[in-house]
């Protein structure tokens, strides 16, 4: 196991941080929540943030907190898919393909929501689930899983997630494509 300081990782994968924060901002705007401050990237911890109004609506909280997870995952699949064949399967030295793979992995690596976001959701999800909120009920296992994975960042769980999505996603797409 080797240690690389967080700011260095953030710098190497800065597009992922920007996309993550842009995702938070997008969902805040979508749900008309006030945004007090936004930092898309900085050399510090956290590398980016969005300070926004709190809401009692679980659905809004869920999408504002988890939106970047879905958006980053989707964009990771899109960019890695554009580069997957030349980089992994065909072994063609195409700089544009490598650029997209880096971009895709950087975005995928920053998909995990922050521990604070997950804690906030975890605090209200069981209550809302008992009140019959279906999204809260469905999201409980996902929140729990991401909470655990978030701790796994020290052992590169975030990078592992990015790689898994960036490889398995395109493989699934191309397998289906080949069978079509």
């Amino acid at each position: 196991m080797f240690f690389i300081p967080g700011p260095v990782i953030a710098m190497l994968t800065f597009p992922g941080v920007i996309v993550h924060e842009a995702g938070h901002l997008f969902f805040c705007k979508l749900f008309k929540l006030q945004v007090y401050d936004v930092c898309f990237f900085r050399f510090g911890n956290p590398a980016g943030y969005v300070l926004h109004e709190k809401t009692d609506d679980f659905n809004k909280s869920f999408f504002v907190s988890m939106g970047p997870f879905f958006a980053n995952t989707l964009l990771c699949v899109v960019f890695c898919t554009a580069a997957f064949l030349p980089v992994w399967e065909l072994k063609v030295n195409d700089p544009l393909a490598y650029f997209f793979y880096w971009l895709g992995l950087s975005i995928g690596m920053h998909a995990f929501p922050s521990t604070t976001d997950l804690s906030n959701l975890w605090a209200v999800a069981p209550v809302r689930a008992k009140q019959g909120n279906l999204l809260a009920l469905i999201s409980l296992p996902l929140i729990a899983l991401l909470y655990v994975l978030n701790f796994g960042r020290v052992i590169w769980a975030d990078l592992g997630y990015g790689i898994a999505v960036g490889i398995l996603g395109p493989i699934a797409i191309f397998r289906a494509f080949a069978r079509a």
């Binding site: 920007i18 842009a22 901002l25 805040c28 705007k29 008309k32 929540l33 006030q34 945004v35 007090y36 401050d37 936004v38 898309f40 109004e53 709190k54 899109v78 960019f79 554009a82 580069a83 064949l85 030349p86 399967e89 065909l90 072994k91 063609v92 030295n93 195409d94 544009l96 393909a97 650029f99 997209f100 971009l103 191309f174 397998r175 494509f177 080949a178 069978r179």
Partner: protein
């Protein structure tokens, strides 16, 4: 800015430094004590920070002591900040980056069309290999290799397919032409499988070459046939080796004048691969039986097979030419009941005719 006073210590300063707890105003140190005491007694210990509504919570600008800023999301905000927080704009650089990224993605998709095509061919080839349709897989994999000659996967799949249909030459071309025969992961099961197949094929080719050389020497056809059978059993995927072994069996049977065996081998060949060559071979074997026994049934059967071979060669000039040469000798055998091999036949009849 508005002032406040702590209910415990009497400190007076700006109201933003105070907190409200159980309806009373506390400074920070007194709040901690009061909150802790309440907590120890099991009473609620929640508090809220006091806001000065004449001061913008975001930029700190003051509206003057007489006027409050409107609150948005519980916070007092000046008009500029209020407009910003209710409709936070996406920065121009972010929008520009997104546009550039989308343009690049479009370029990548257009530029990558040939990769998608090659990838699709490779996956189709892979699927056909998995279904053991090796012959059908080769054109797809060849197409993939044209775009991606460096792909280990495509090269190994193509080599495997070629080796599975007995095309050693094609496999050799692919394997040697791939990064000078170098593969990234030599422990990859796909690589190990192809290596196993390749080694078997080389062993078989070596035996087949030795068998061919022996077959050219007089009296060695039995040994040549044995070696060729070994080659065929080492590498059964190459059906050509089994055919060669059968042909050598024919030669060996003819050489030792074992015409029953000659008939048996040629009958087997005719049954397995009906064609002009096998029909003519069976006609030849039956003619030998007629020559040695005088049994007219053999002659009739031989002539019947010659007719079949003749019909099968129609339209194929090369095959017709070869058949004519062969048929001439078989006819001679049937007419004279004398069994002579080709060199002897050529010596007796063809050199003379050439001289004429």
């Amino acid at each position: 800015m508005r002032q406040g006073t702590c209910c415990e210590c009497g400190l007076t300063t700006t109201i933003r430094s105070f907190h409200s707890f159980t309806g009373k105003t506390y400074c920070e140190p007194c709040l901690w004590k009061a909150s802790q005491q309440a907590s120890e007694k099991g009473e609620p210990s929640e508090y809220i920070s006091l806001l000065d509504n004449s001061v913008c919570a975001r930029c700190g600008s003051s509206s003057g002591d007489t006027e409050d800023y409107p609150t948005i999301g519980r916070l007092p905000l000046c008009p500029t900040c209020a407009s910003q927080v209710t409709n936070w704009p996406y920065p121009t650089w972010l929008k520009a980056s997104l546009a550039v990224l989308l343009a690049l993605l479009a370029v990548a998709l257009v530029h990558g069309r040939r990769y998608f095509h090659a990838g699709r061919s490779m996956y189709q080839g892979e699927r056909l290999v998995e279904q053991q349709k090796y012959e059908a897989a080769i054109p797809y994999l060849r197409e993939a290799l044209q775009v991606a000659p460096g792909s280990d996967k495509a090269a190994l799949l193509e080599a495997k397919a070629a080796l599975k249909v007995g095309d050693v030459e094609e496999a050799q071309k692919t394997l040697k032409g791939h990064n000078g025969g170098h593969f990234e992961d030599e422990q990859d099961p796909r690589f190990l499988e192809v290596r196993g197949l390749w080694e078997r094929a080389l062993q078989a080719v070596d035996k087949a070459e030795r068998a061919s050389k022996l077959a050219e020497q007089p009296g060695q056809s039995a040994e040549a046939a044995r070696l060729m059978h070994e080659a065929a059993s080492v590498y059964p995927e190459a059906s050509g080796l089994a055919i060669s072994a059968d042909l050598l069996d024919e030669g060996a049977a003819f050489e030792r004048k074992d015409y029953d065996a000659f008939v048996a081998v040629t009958q087997k060949e005719w049954k397995e691969r009906p064609g002009p060559d096998t029909a003519a071979s069976l006609a030849s074997a039956l003619a030998c039986k007629y020559a040695t026994t005088g049994n007219a049934d053999y002659r009739q059967q031989s002539e019947e097979m010659l007719r079949k071979a003749d019909q099968m060669t129609q339209g194929n000039i090369q095959a017709m030419k070869s058949f004519e040469e062969y048929a001439e000798r078989i006819h001679y055998r049937l007419v004279s009941r004398e069994i002579i091999d080709k060199p002897e036949y050529d010596r007796r009849f063809r050199q003379t005719s050439q001289r004429k």
